[in-house]
Subunit: 115 residues, 2 copies
């Protein structure tokens, strides 16, 4: 019984963590963030390995459900792509315009503050 | 018994509508979007005026709760401000660079698709 650990869950967790319960957060953090095993998490929380597994699987579905409705992660990636394109174009064509560079930096700062 | 109708609820509704139930959506749409009165909505749905009022007040709290946790509307306004600053700067300093203008348009397109 293995859960495929992946970057996607970590990313979705960054966006939707505020909507999860404390227990859901803890399990996901330990499993996906800190790379604990199901057995170790079960021991930490004094519950069964099955209970941890069920909770994590349920939380993954909840995270994917939020993404299907709000698509924050997908929108974030799209905006980042456009911001990168602008940043690259400006550093190629107007490398000495520090005002424009500063404005574009603000775009990226605003983005990372939104996470 | 009056509810203060305002742009803020309409804005929050744009971001968090997918997280509401069908009934919550309908009441908010009719009250804030279509400017129906509580009495008219009550008649449309064959429920009491008080039931409509309570539902709308509850939904407003839910919307503000989501904003407190995810701050999508606030982040959107911040990003828009930065995008406007870049757009204004570029049209002042590089009015003939159509490639850069196109890239910046993409930024705004991506943003409005995110709503």
């Amino acid at each position: 019984m293995e859960i495929e650990k992946n970057d996607r869950i970590n990313s979705l967790f960054e966006f939707y963590e505020p909507l999860l319960t404390d227990k859901q957060k803890s399990y996901i953090e330990q499993y996906y963030g800190d790379d604990y095993s199901l057995g170790e998490i079960a021991e930490n929380f004094e519950v069964s390995r099955q209970a941890v597994y069920d909770n994590i699987k349920r939380t993954e579905k909840i995270l994917e459900g939020y993404e299907a409705k709000l698509h924050l992660f997908n929108d974030f990636r799209k905006r980042n792509q456009v911001a990168d394109d602008i940043s690259n174009y400006v550093s190629q064509h107007y490398p000495s315009d520090s005002t424009l560079s500063r404005l574009i930096d603000q775009l990226e700062t605003t983005e990372s503050e939104s996470d």
